[in-house]
Structures are given as C-alpha cells and as structure tokens.
C-alpha cells in the first residue's frame, strides 16, 4: 500500500510522486483506439473481478437481478439462494434462449419461455417437458452455466473467466484487508440515475475521479462546499493506492452554510441536523463513518468525500451523508452506460421527504454538470488534435488508472498484472 498525505496548503502537493507514478504527459490512444479497446475487453473486463454492487439489493431468498455486460456480450443472472449469492449466464441449456426476461424480482424458479425448461435459482435444471424424448439425457449436466461469484463486505463481484486465475481476496489485496467492517447505511434502499453517453468509459470515470474540476464545473451547485479560501482549487487531502485499486480523500469546506439567497435550501434543511449539504443521512450515520480508520484516513476536519475506485470500472463514494456508487460499463470504444446509485433512507414525513427531494434535485444538477462535459471531451479526443493530455497532481487517480490498465493489457496472466 502507498499511503499518501499531502498538505493542500503547500505550494504543490506530491501525491503522484508518492504513488510512484510518472509525471509526463499521458497518451490519449486508450480513449479512442479500437485496438486498445478490444484489448481492454479481453485482458481487463474478461479477467478482472467486476463489482456489481451491494448484496442488499437482493436481500431475500429468491431475489434476483439481471446485469448486462455489453462488452462480453453477456447477461448475468444474479440470484439470492438460501446458501448465498450466485451468478449464471442468463442462457437456457436447451437452445440458448434467454431464460429471465425482466431485470429483477423474486422467484424461486425460472422458466424459459421457449420450451418451458425450468431452473431453480441455484441454477439446477428441474423441469424438462417430454424429457423422455431426448437422447442419453442427464438433467444434472444441463443446469445454467455458472459465473464465478463472490461477495466481500456485502459487495457482489463476478469474474467472467471460466475458472478465475485469482480469488477475489487476492484481487483486492491489501485494500480488502483495510476496508473491512465499514457499515453501509441504507444499503437496501437506493435511487438510480442512468445515462448512455457517447464517450469512452474512462472519460466518464475520470470525471468522477478528481475534484480539480469542481470550482469550474459546479460553481453554484457544490463549488462552495468543496473549495474555500483555504483550498481554492479543491485539492485532495490524501490519496492511496493498493495494487490496481485507489482512493482519494477530498476536501470539504467546513464553513459551508447555505447562502442567504438559498431560501428553499435553508427552509427544507432547517428541521434536520446534518453535517453536509450532500447528505441524505443522519448524524448517527456520519459518526459511524468518522470512527473507521479507512474512511477520511487523515481524520481531517475538512473532509467531504472519499472516492474509492476499484479496478477497473467501479467507484464507491463515502461521505458524512452516506454512500453512493458509480458503474462505468463500456459499450463500445466511445459509448458508455453509466449508472449512479445513491443509497438513501426512507423519508416518511414532510420534513425528511422535502430534504430528500432537494438532495435528489441537486444531485441531478451535479451529475448533469459532471457528465455534460464528457461527450464534448470525447469529440475533442477523437479529433486527433492532441496526442496527449497533461495531468496535475490532484488528478493522480486518472494516472494510476491508466497505468494499471496498461499493465493488465500487456500482462499474460492476472497474477503478473497484479504483481
């Protein structure tokens, strides 16, 4: 592990150097090259453990959801059996029709609508009409095709290798040891923003990986919560890397109060004590985070959000007000399905529901400001005007992401990529 702390008040921070990364310009080819993209698909997305989100999403036996992974041409059926979480290709063993046609729900068995082949949610084939008319037929050999699936701290991961080269524990490495015992409040309840964007998946992921953009892109929505006179360019407080994974702890303006003109914000939040404007949670939730050594690792009094980026395409963010996740699912070299899921509590009364509506309304604006840039950026990249981009110290996670992707693209084995 590299544990990097930088004083944002200094003339320069040194997060990039402490992470052992170079400081030169970075090639834009990984953002526009079809050849590179195909290598990413084969060497990264088909070999790495991919986080699909929280297991509370399928909290009860029989709960399931279907996850599309476009670049693998796969639909993964994730189920909650009495024994745990399981994953399968959503493909019938008879003539390869899709078995589950909706996106989620609760069912103890799944019936393929082509010839009524029936499966239990542990993948076992239990019903075949006119079975006697098949040849040397063994139902036990005709279950749904399993996909490697493991959970860690309530996060569901799958691996598309028929037999994963490394376990999830090995893939997570030191990160998996340090980020244990973190409570995730309201993990069974969430709201979801989705967008299909005409940009490479890394352009979107990069947009959520640095705070340098905040004063420029978000001047009104959150500019004054992430920057202040003390830290006018919203420099991060610290950064950490663990093998292919990374995290930055970002600065929050401890002095922030809604301005006089923000009368609705002041009114709606006036009845609820909360530590952060980006909040849908209670002070009790905040206390739990503040006590954990991995969260806000420097225990800064000016802490806003920890952005943690699990290789390759998943970020989770923990703030005093709760947690949320981003999935950057590549569709093609310049198309991405981006999903942002925010975990929020039920709001049963007028005060809490109004606060929540204000929170969601503001989120919609922030997210649009974030990704509104990305298609324009992709067009700029595609123009070929530039061969490289220059990155500053606060953009260390972008540099680390590209460095790790390059390792994985060129490594013959996953273990070599992780070395």
């Amino acid at each position: 592990m590299n544990d990097q702390v930088a004083d944002f008040r200094a003339e320069k921070t040194n997060l990039t150097e402490l992470a052992g990364l170079g400081k030169g310009p970075v090639s834009l080819e990984p953002y526009r090259s079809q050849e590179w993209f195909e290598k990413e698909v084969e060497q990264v997305f088909k070999r790495a453990w991919l986080c699909l989100g929280r297991e509370e999403r399928i909290g009860n036996p029989g709960d399931y959801f279907v996850q599309t992974i476009e670049v693998a041409k796969a639909e993964i059926l994730v189920t909650r059996t009495r024994e745990g979480v399981r994953a399968f290709h959503n493909v019938c063993s008879h003539r390869s029709n899709k078995v589950v046609l909706d996106r989620g729900g609760n069912a103890s068995r799944f019936v393929c609508r082509y010839h009524n082949w029936t499966y239990k949610n542990d993948g076992a084939l239990i019903g075949v009409p006119d079975e006697k008319n098949f040849f040397d037929f063994d139902k036990k050999r005709c279950g749904l095709t399993k996909v490697a699936c493991e959970t860690w701290e309530g996060w569901i991961f799958i691996n598309l290798q028929p037999v994963p080269e490394v376990s999830l524990t090995e893939f997570l490495g030191d990160f998996g040891q340090i980020y244990t015992g973190i409570p995730y409040p309201h993990s069974d309840k969430s709201i979801l923003f989705v967008s299909h964007l005409k940009a490479n998946w890394k352009v979107i992921a990069d947009a959520f990986a640095e705070t340098y953009h905040i004063p420029a892109i978000h001047p009104e929505t959150i500019g004054s919560t992430f920057a202040s006179n003390e830290n006018p360019f919203a420099r991060p407080i610290s950064a950490q890397t663990w093998g292919p994974h990374r995290s930055v702890s970002t600065y929050g303006n401890p002095e922030y109060v809604p301005p006089i003109g923000s009368q609705v914000e002041r009114l709606f939040y006036s009845n609820i004590a909360t530590g952060n404007v980006l909040s849908a949670a209670s002070l009790e939730d905040t206390e739990v985070f503040l006590k954990h050594p991995a969260i806000n690792p420097t225990k800064s009094g000016s802490w806003a959000v920890d952005v943690t980026w699990l290789f390759p395409h998943f970020q989770f963010d923990v703030s005093p007000g709760g947690f949320w996740t981003h999935h950057f699912w590549p569709v093609s070299v310049n198309e991405t399905r981006w999903e942002a899921r925010f975990h929020i509590p039920d709001a049963p009364d007028v005060w809490s529901r109004l606060q929540q509506e204000h929170y969601i309304a503001r989120l919609g604006e922030i997210l649009l400001e974030d990704v509104g840039n990305t298609e324009r950026t992709q067009e700029g990249i595609n123009s070929g005007a530039k061969e490289h981009m220059v990155l500053q110290d606060g953009e260390v996670m972008i540099r680390h992401s590209l460095h790790q992707l390059e390792k994985w693209v060129h490594a013959e084995t996953v273990r070599e990529a992780l070395a």
Binding site: K189, S190, I191, L192, F193, V194, S195, H196, L197, I217, E220, T221, G261, S262, Q263, V264, E265, L267, F268, R341, I344, D346, A347, P348, D349, V350, W351, R353, L354, Q356, E357, H358, I360, A361, R362, G364, E365, L367, L368, E369, V371, G372, E375
Partner: protein, 114 residues
C-alpha cells in the same frame, strides 16, 4: 370543502397545480427543465411564500397516507425543491453549459412520492 384542489388557505396556489403538481421526481425535474425562467420564478415566489404554512399543514403525518388536496399540496412543495435549482443556484432554468436535451435520467426513485 370536499373536492377542493388544495386545502383551505392555499387557494392562491391553484394556478400552479396543473403544471407543477406531478407524481414523480423525474417528472418534477423535467417540468423545471422545460419551463421558462419567468414561469419558474412566478411559481417559486408564490410557493415559497406559503411553504412554511404548507409544511405546518402536513407536519406530523405519515406522507404515505396523504390523499387528495393534501397530496397535491405535498407535490407542489416537492416541486419547489426543483424550482429552487433554477432560482437559487443557476439563475436560469438549467445548469449553465450542460447539454439540452439530455438523457441523464432518474430511473429508480424513492418509494414515496417518487
């Protein structure tokens, strides 16, 4: 009075019900995005003036149980959050320099008034 659009005392808000009292977060968001700044400001000023009374009227109840005129009043209050994005943050109907139309959509919303 049964069948009233809004509870007694909130008649001044009736002109806004047709456009702003809609069922879900995404719809409320779209109404604000599609409105002119004049229309947003007119609604914002009228609704903000009565918001403390509206909250007091609904306070102490489970909002899941709200029906009829009370439900409509709650929807108007919720729409005020969206109108405030334009009046208090952007000072224009939508965030500056963001694409329009766009496809950043809320596809899963809160269970109540979502």
């Amino acid at each position: 009075m049964s069948g009233a659009v809004l509870p007694a005392g909130f008649e001044a808000l009736e002109p806004f019900v047709g456009y702003w009292a809609v069922a879900g977060v995404q719809q409320r968001r779209e109404r604000r995005e599609n409105a002119s700044m004049d229309d947003i400001e007119t609604f914002y000023n009228a609704m903000l003036a009565l918001a403390p009374q509206a909250i007091a009227h609904l306070e102490g109840r489970q909002i899941v149980d709200l029906e009829g005129a009370d439900r409509t009043l709650m929807e108007l209050l919720l729409a005020l959050a969206h109108a405030s994005m334009a009046t208090e943050l952007h000072r224009q109907p939508r965030a500056p320099f963001t694409p329009w139309p766009h496809e950043v959509r809320l596809v899963e919303a809160p269970a109540i008034f979502g």
